[in-house]
Amino acid sequence: MDYFFILILAATLVLFALFERVKKFIFLISFQGILLFGIALINLLHIDTLELVLILLETIVVKSIIIPVFLRKLMIQNQLKRVHEVNVPVFYSIIFTSFFILGSFLLSSFLQLPNINSRIFSIGFASIIFGIYFITIHKNIFSHLIGYLIIENGIFLFSVGVGSQMPLLIGLAILLDILIGVLIIGIFVNKVKDRFQSIDIAQLSQLKD
C-alpha cells in the first residue's frame, strides 16, 4: 500500500515541474503532506500515541494545513499568480524530473541499502534532488520557498525511512525547523516584495562585487 503513496508522490513531482500557477503549487504541497502522513503511518512499526500525535501534527496539521494556509496568505498579499521566469524550459524540466525519479528508484534497487527502507529512500532521494533542481531553475523567491518545502518533505521521508522508530526529539526538531523556517522565509518574501516591487531573484544581485 505504501507503494501507492510513493508512486503518487513521484507523480506530484512531475506535476511540480509542469505547473506554473502558484495556486497549484500550494495545492500540491498540501497534497504531499497527506501522502507523507500515509507513508509515515504505514512504515512506523511500533507506533505509540505520542508518536502518532507528533506525526499527525507534522504532516497533516503543519504540512498540509498551516503551511498551505500561510502560503496562500503570502500569495494573496503579494498578488502572485504565476511563476513564469524559469531558467530551463518546462519541457526539459519534465524530462529531467522523470529521469530523477527513474534514476533514484533504480539506484535504490541497485544499492539494496541494508539499514534503510529503500522504497522510501528512493522517493525521498528523488524529492531532495528535485527540490534542489527546482530551486536552481526558478528565478522567483516564492518558488524557492516551494523548493525548500519539497526538500524538507524529502528529509522527512528520509527520517521515516532511516529508522522504523523515529526519536521524538528529531521529530520535534524538524517540526520546529520547518515551521519557523517557512514563517520567517515567508515574512522575508513579503519584505523583498515591498522593497524591490518584485520577487524576481535577478533583483537580488546587488551584493556581488
Binding site: L7, L18, P89, F91, F105, S109, L113, N117, R119, S122
Partner: protein, 307 residues
C-alpha cells in the same frame, strides 16, 4: 465472429462519434444540439463535390488522403475485440500499429508541405512535432503492459492483463488517462488543438488540410473518426476482460465508446485550449506519467526490488 461484430460496431460507432461529441457540447452550453448524423450528411455532401487541386501541387498531395485513409483502415484490423484477436495479429503488432498510423500521418504531412503554403507548413510542422512527442508515452505504456502480461501482441497483451495486485489499481487509471490524452493529441482535439478554430495562425490539424477539398477532405474526416474509435476500442480493452457473454461485452463496448465521446465533449466544453508553446511540455508530461506506470510494472514484476 467476435471480431466481425467488433468491426461492424466500430464502423457504426465511428459514424456516430462526432455527432455524440457535438451533441454533448451543445447540451452542455445550453444550445440546441444538431442531429446525430449531421456530420455524416456533411461528409456525403463533400463526396458529391468535385475535388479541386492547386496547380502547384504534385501527385503526392493527391495520394496523401488515400494513403492516410488506408493506413487507418488497416490499423483498425489490428485491434483485438473482447479478448479475441484482431484480423491481423502477430508478435509485436502494437509496434507495427503505431508505425502504420505514423506512416499515414507522414503522408499527410508531406502532402501539406507539397502545397508550399506557409500556413500549411506551419501546421505540418506543429503536427509532426506533437506526434513525435507522443511516441515515447505510447511505447512506454505498451512496453509496461507487455512486461506485465508477458505478451508482445495486442491480443495476448489484453487477454493476459491480470490486475490482481494492489498496484494494478494505480496502473489502470493512469494508463487510461494517458491513453485518453494520446487519443486527443493524435486526433488533434482539445486541449492541444481546437477543431473549431478558424484562425490560420492557431490551427494545427485544420491548417494542414486547408487545401484538401471534396472527396479527399471527406476521406480525411472519416479517417479521423475511425481513429477515434480505434483508440476508444483500445481503452475499452483495458476495462473489458471478464468472462461475460458476447452480448454483454458488446453492450459494454458500445457503452464505453459512447462514454468516451461524451467525455471528450465535456472536456472540450469546460476548459480552454493550451497555449501553443505549452503543448510540448504538456505532451511530454504524458511520457513522465508513463514512466511512473513503467516503474510500477517493474515493481509488480519484481524487476525492481525495494525492501
Amino acid at each position: 465472429m467476435m471480431t466481425v461484430i467488433g468491426i461492424i460496431l466500430t464502423l457504426i460507432l465511428s459514424v456516430l462519434f462526432p455527432g455524440i461529441i457535438a451533441i454533448t457540447k451543445a447540451k452542455v452550453s445550453g444550445r440546441k444540439p444538431p442531429f446525430i448524423l449531421q456530420p455524416l450528411f456533411d461528409i456525403l455532401r463533400l463526396f458529391r463535390k468535385t475535388t479541386i487541386y492547386s496547380t502547384t501541387t504534385s501527385f503526392i498531395f493527391q495520394l496523401a488522403p488515400l494513403v492516410y485513409f488506408a493506413s487507418v483502415v488497416i490499423a483498425l484490423l489490428f485491434i483485438p475485440f473482447f479478448g479475441d484477436t484482431g484480423v491481423f495479429s502477430f508478435e509485436g503488432d502494437f509496434v507495427f500499429f503505431a508505425y502504420l498510423l505514423a506512416f499515414g500521418k507522414f503522408f499527410m504531412i508531406i502532402g501539406a508541405m507539397d502545397t508550399g503554403s506557409s500556413f500549411e507548413g506551419m501546421g505540418a510542422n506543429r503536427e509532426a512535432f506533437y506526434s513525435l512527442l507522443v511516441e515515447p508515452a505510447y511505447f512506454l505504456l505498451m512496453g509496461s503492459l507487455a512486461l506485465l502480461s508477458n505478451y508482445i501482441s495486442f491480443a495476448g497483451l489484453f487477454s493476459a492483463l491480470h490486475f490482481n495486485t494492489d498496484l494494478a489499481y494505480l496502473v489502470i487509471p493512469v494508463s487510461v488517462y494517458v491513453f485518453l490524452f494520446i487519443t486527443m493529441i493524435e486526433n488533434s482535439r482539445m486541449p492541444v488543438d481546437d477543431p473549431k478554430t478558424h484562425l490560420e495562425l492557431t490551427m494545427v490539424h485544420e491548417v494542414m488540410v486547408l487545401d484538401n477539398s471534396a472527396f479527399d477532405l471527406a476521406l480525411i474526416h472519416i479517417a479521423g473518426w475511425l481513429k477515434f474509435v480505434i483508440y476508444g476500442t483500445l481503452i475499452a480493452n483495458f476495462l473489458i476482460n471478464g468472462q461475460e457473454s458476447t452480448l454483454i461485452k458488446s453492450l459494454e463496448f458500445v457503452g464505453i465508446n459512447i462514454l468516451f465521446a461524451v467525455l471528450i465533449g465535456v472536456v472540450e466544453s469546460f476548459r480552454a485550449r493550451n497555449k501553443l508553446a505549452k503543448n510540448p511540455q504538456w505532451i511530454i508530461m504524458l511520457s513522465a506519467l508513463a514512466i511512473i506506470v513503467f516503474i510500477t510494472t517493474l515493481i509488480i514484476t519484481s524487476k525492481l526490488i525495494l525492501n
